[in-house]
């Protein structure tokens, strides 16, 4: 699960896909997840990192992460 190589991201939550010209915005947690995906962080590590930092239980976040990743896939941001 990793970001396509050509995807441009900013620390402020802006995402640009030069392949088709689409641009996106994401929130703070989304920005952190995008950053970890860029570094090819495994999903389990993403879950542990976010749950340690934010006030959320693991089940809830796993569910939200699944939804987020499926959206990234739909938007052809993931490889």
């Amino acid at each position: 699960m990793k970001l396509k190589k050509n995807i441009a991201t900013s620390g402020e939550g802006f995402i640009f896909n030069p392949g088709n010209g689409d641009s996106f915005s994401t929130n703070e947690i989304g920005t952190e997840i995008i950053g970890m995906l860029k570094d090819e962080t495994p999903p389990q590590t993403i879950i542990e990192t976010i749950c340690a930092k934010y006030d959320v239980d693991q089940n809830q976040f796993e569910r939200d992460l699944d939804d987020y990743l499926s959206q990234l896939k739909d938007y052809t941001i993931l490889e």
Binding site: D22, F24, N27, D55, Q60, L72, Y75
Partner: protein, 453 residues
């Protein structure tokens, strides 16, 4: 170390192209209190979903409408439209403020009597009045508004048989320039039906014609239609005096004033487009005052406004049951109330606010109710903060018609709480239970068992 407040990750595609000049409306500002009572405590104490009515707002609305009409016209009487909301506590607020009762069925008539409204201050409208209720209304000196010829002749017969002289008016339907024309109720003005009915009543020794009534429609957005209606009623009143030397006591212009809810398909929100009560009052009173009646002959002006007096005093509190993503990528939020409780969601794009503080991010979503029915949609598209299971919402302006037209379907009807003038809360209708639901059911002996084990 304290953890940071969580907000689920979202990604939104940025669209290019022409912008909507009004932008996207975002229901973002949280509503955490209603009349000083926290939404959280209301839901904790009385459950979710929950209807809440503000007594302060009811009284404010009534006093405002009464002031508007009474500063323009010397003789004004409001009659509370029971069908709009016939919770007894609500009716009593309006009766305490001086409203008579306007009822459209036998059980509403009995409700008004049980609420202590004197018979002569009950207006009995509607096409369905039983013989028994007509006799009762005549004996109580109520104002019976005749809807059709069958009712007129029934009333004449009953009055003869029981030696009664009921006080009556006819309901007049007419072309006021609006669509649809409500010509299914009452007697038509343009084709002479109304005049024929008036003549028949006046020639009857048993009926006392005391007024005229019309109700030109509902959620009316055109004050000029009321001016037309008032003109036509004045024309009939004038004709009755000229031809029969009879002065009518009142003109009842009915109800139909809109609330500031937004109708489905409307381009702009109701709060920006709905005429004020002042405009309706101007339209009606200018006509009557200018028609030429002598000061002592000016008829009492009766108004049966319901929706405009109560809609914004009612709230529906609810809870998010689940969120999911639809096959086309849209976010769906499932709430614990549906169209069964919020009947008016068939007509309105209700304003819905979150009841807790969220971050700055929002998303477009569909709000569904909990029913296993595809039609159970509260809002087809609304931009809200990132809702999660357990979050509370506040639906605004639900005071009219929901607590009378709600359906017992799949879920049981919830509690209704009134917040009084001192911000104390009172349950005015208890949540339904299975026992309540089944109390009128009867099971034949052969169906009292089954063989399933």
């Amino acid at each position: 170390m304290d953890k940071i407040r969580y907000e689920r990750p979202i990604i939104q595609k940025m669209n290019t192209g022409l912008m909507n000049k009004f932008g996207t409306r975002t229901e973002y500002e949280p509503v955490t209190h209603i009349e000083g009572v926290t939404v959280k405590s209301l839901i904790n104490d009385y459950g979710s979903p929950l209807f809440v009515i503000s007594e302060k707002q009811l009284r404010r609305n009534f006093q405002n409408a009464a002031r508007i009409f009474k500063t323009r016209y010397p003789k004004v009487q409001f009659a509370w439209s029971y069908k709009t909301n016939y919770m007894n506590a609500v009716c009593q607020v309006f009766h305490q403020e001086g409203s008579w009762a306007e009822v459209v069925s036998g059980f509403e008539y009995e409700k008004a009597l049980n609420n202590g409204v004197p018979g002569h201050k009950i207006i009995f409208n509607g096409p369905d009045k039983s013989d028994q209720h007509l006799i009762s209304a005549a004996r109580n000196n109520s104002l019976i508004h005749i809807d059709h010829y069958d009712e007129l002749y029934t009333l004449i017969k009953l009055s003869e048989e029981h030696h009664l002289k009921p006080r009556v008016a006819i309901r007049v339907n007419m072309d006021t320039g609006i669509y649809p024309k409500w010509d299914r109720f009452g007697f038509n003005f343009e084709n002479g039906q109304a005049w024929n009915a008036i003549t028949r009543i006046i020639n009857s020794v048993n009926l006392d014609l005391v007024g005229l009534h019309c109700h030109i429609g509902t959620f009316m957005l055109s004050p000029s239609a009321y001016a037309t209606a008032a003109t036509k009623l004045c024309e009939l009143t004038w004709g009755i005096r000229e031809k029969f030397n009879k002065t009518l006591q009142y003109l009842d212009l009915g109800g139909g004033f809109p609330s500031t809810n937004t109708l489905k398909g409307a381009y702009l929100p109701g709060s920006d487009t709905v005429p004020s009560i002042d405009q309706f009052a101007d339209a009606i009173t200018d006509v009557i005052l200018g028609y030429g009646f002598k000061q002592e002959d000016l008829p009492l002006l009766i108004l049966e406004s319901g929706r405009a007096l109560i809609d914004d005093a009612g709230y529906l509190l609810g809870t998010v049951l689940a969120t999911k993503r639809l096959s086309d990528g849209r976010r769906a939020t499932i709430l614990d109330f549906g169209v069964n409780s919020l009947f008016t969601s068939f007509w309105y794009e209700h304003k819905i606010s979150p009841a807790q503080v969220f971050g700055q991010h929002t998303e477009e979503m569909v709000l569904f109710g909990p029913l296993c029915m595809n039609i159970d949609v509260i809002r087809e598209s609304i931009t809200m903060p990132l809702l999660e299971k357990g979050n509370h919402l506040v639906v605004h302006k639900v005071g009219a018609y929901n607590m009378t037209q709600w359906m017992q379907f799949i879920t049981l009807r919830p509690n209704i709480v009134l917040i009084d003038m001192e911000n104390n809360t009172h349950v005015i209708r208890k949540a339904e239970t299975l026992e309540y639901l089944e109390q009128n059911e009867q099971i034949p002996d052969h169906l009292k068992y089954n063989t399933l084990k």
